[in-house]
Amino acid sequence: MGLTGLEIFKQLPKTNCKDCGQPTCLAFAMQLASGKASLDQCPHVSDAAKEALDSASAPPVALVKIGKGEKELELGNETVLFRHDKRFEHPTGIAISVSDSDAEIASKVQEINKLVFDRVGQVHSVNLVAVVNNSGDAAKFAEAVKTVQDNTQFPLVLISEDPAAMEKALEVAGANAPLICGANAANFDAMIGLAKKYDAPVVIKGANLEELAALVEKAGYKKLILDSGAREVNKVLADQTQIRRQALKRFRPFGYPTITFADNPDPIQAIVDAGVYIAKYAGIVVLNTADPADVLPLITLRLNIYTDPQKPIAVESKIYEVGNPGPDAPVFVTTNFSLTYFCVQGDVEAGRIDAYILPVDTDGISVLTGWAAGKFTPEKITEMLNTCGIADKVSHRKVIIPGGVAVLSGKLQELSGWEVLVGPRESAGIPSFIKQRWSA
């Protein structure tokens, strides 16, 4: 990735021996640059050249995995600074911490397990449980790690700077590729040694960017997560920006995902700080709260920041049934923008209404945007009513449209022959609207 044919050519033997199946080394280089060939097809390339090409073609931010199995977390592979340039690849992993001096660890972990939210038809949850060795006691730490591991499927982050405690914890959890957090200048060899022994990812913490870079180079290990040591939000922002910028400039020591800690002593400010970290490049953010009121805004922010700016998430345009709708059931029209559709679906469900929902294909844009863009029109709604088969499912001819596009009602009624009921502006008003206004 990123290398031109000419740059690759410079590293090849330039003998034009054709063993790769190409007429010349240059032709082979061009094939490589466009991804149509792989380097191992040339039997003569030197080890030095191989390494240079491998590292130059590696993504600017390495892919690092934490945990095993279904809930394994992938981080990295990022390629840009701004989401308008290209989609951010791997959403920030959200870790919730528990302390090994907490007597109620198991129940705390149950709370963390429950942090699962339905949004736009997808399930969103936190990703990691971080066990913190606050006690300073190795046995206690290992015991806490065991309790957490027995009670959750999320991969673990083991937080201790004491290699002896880490070793004990890894005896319990080491087979599941937990994140070791971590190595610093003082414990470096021991921690990196443990990471290598268990083939687990490890956090390297520097006292500042300079020390961080030096430690990364010294590690001789690639499963790394970076911690610049900054803890105040203004400084973390600067360091996160530097690490991402320099990774993109291919300063190799910073080519790994990062970890941040939202441990502002003020609980609300801690969430605000975490929001900044999610927007600004953090690979992982560790929170000290499992209150859904704190976590839901952050999970939502993460979803928003990491959506593909080029394509809105859309649902298929077809008849959807909520509950067990019969011939008397109300028919709601909306657009096929996921967010819009799921707002309506959620509110219809919350009102325990058996109903049909028809999301018109607006290329995945919202009600008002669709209306303003000429994609949510009386003509399109009529077409959907006529072709989707809803007329065979209901005995009445009444359709409910969003309040925001009340202006459509006259024309729609005329074109479709259906009676048009103008619903509330916000879908949250649907349950009370149905109570007051619906009869088939």
């Binding site: 203004n234 400039k249 609300i268 700080d273 900044v276 979803l303 928003n304 920041i305 959506t307 700016p309």
Partner: protein, 316 residues
């Protein structure tokens, strides 16, 4: 390998807008880098927080939002003063009564309210109409006159009504909010039209018509980032401070409105609702928002505390 701090060499900066009059004037904009990157440029002014006042008692605000204003919701002057007590840097008066669906109040009545509010407070005033474009042109014309010399920020001007509003602002010495729906070219075009009428560029604030957290925040976020980069790279027609109507959007969200007992899996409503508004605001600040119009005083307090921290240097 030694670390060389990566600094962008921006060639330009965001224009600086002054709101209100001395000794209570407030400045916004003027940055020569991206938000809070003190290591790379100047950030002479911090983002400011406005709290909304309505000239008509809001009916659909959740209890949590009404509670801090108990007793003043029907009295814009008292409400405005309360906002100042709550720490608002600026007060944003929304002339909802002008709306044909509500009281259809006359431009003169609205102007009188605006004057009374302006005279009662010692912070700058933002005056926004009811959102009906033709009516807002009429209303703001009178409001502009009544507030002559107070250097307010008035709006929202759109491609339909900008002429009247811009003229009023020029004659009476105000700044204008230029609204366009989430599109960098539309924003630019409106700014060009307004500056062609000879309104100085630093008297325009861009309103990108933001959506709340969970409801389109990402679109505005990216438009704002692009506008800020345009400004820093020398595009004068994007170099205006950005105003975000956060409160009106955040408090529409189901996550803010739904009571604790209806959605217990979302946690306590008060905390979640305030965070909805706060995170919407602080995220926009990361994208370059300069004037944030909020509704809940606790949100103002929290966002200000955050900004104070972010204004501390992070130079290397």
């Amino acid at each position: 390998m030694a670390v060389t701090i990566a600094k962008e060499k921006w060639t330009s900066k965001v224009g600086e807008m002054v709101l209100g009059t001395e000794p209570n004037a407030v400045k916004v904009g003027g940055e020569s880098t991206l938000p809070f990157l003190h290591f790379e440029g100047e950030i002479p002014n911090k983002p400011v927080m406005a709290l909304e006042v309505w000239d008509l008692e809001p009916t659909d605000w959740p209890e949590i939002l009404k509670q801090p204003f108990e007793g003043v919701l029907g009295d814009p002057v008292a409400w405005a003063k309360k906002n100042v007590e709550y720490g608002a840097d600026v007060v944003a008066l929304r002339l909802m009564s002008a709306h044909p669906d509500f009281k259809d109040a006359s431009p003169e009545d609205c102007a009188a309210t605006a004057k009374a509010v302006a005279d009662a407070i010692n912070v700058p005033l933002i005056v926004i109409g009811c959102g009906v474009e033709e009516k807002d042109a009429q209303v703001l014309e009178k409001v502009g006159e009544a507030l002559n010399g107070k250097n307010c920020l008035i709006g929202c001007a759109t491609e339909k009504n900008y002429k009247t509003i811009t003229a009023t602002a020029m004659v009476n010495g105000h700044n204008v909010i230029a609204s366009s729906p989430l599109d960098i070219n539309l924003a630019k075009q409106l700014n060009i039209l307004m500056t062609e009428m000879n309104l100085p560029a630093n008297r325009i604030a861009i309103d990108p018509l933001v959506g709340a957290l969970g409801y389109g925040i990402e679109y505005a976020y990216s438009i704002m980032e692009r506008a800020r980069m345009g400004a820093l790279m020398g595009d004068k027609m994007l170099a205006m401070p950005v105003i975000c109507f956060v409160g009106q959007e955040a408090w529409k969200a189901k996550e803010a409105k739904s009571p604790s007992d209806e959605t217990p899996e979302w946690g306590a409503q008060e905390r979640r609702a305030i965070l909805w508004e706060v995170i919407t605001a602080t995220t926009f600040i990361q994208a370059g928002g300069s004037i944030l119009v909020l509704r809940h005083p606790e949100s103002v307090k929290q966002v200000k505390a955050h900004i104070d921290k972010m204004m501390e240097s992070n130079a290397y």
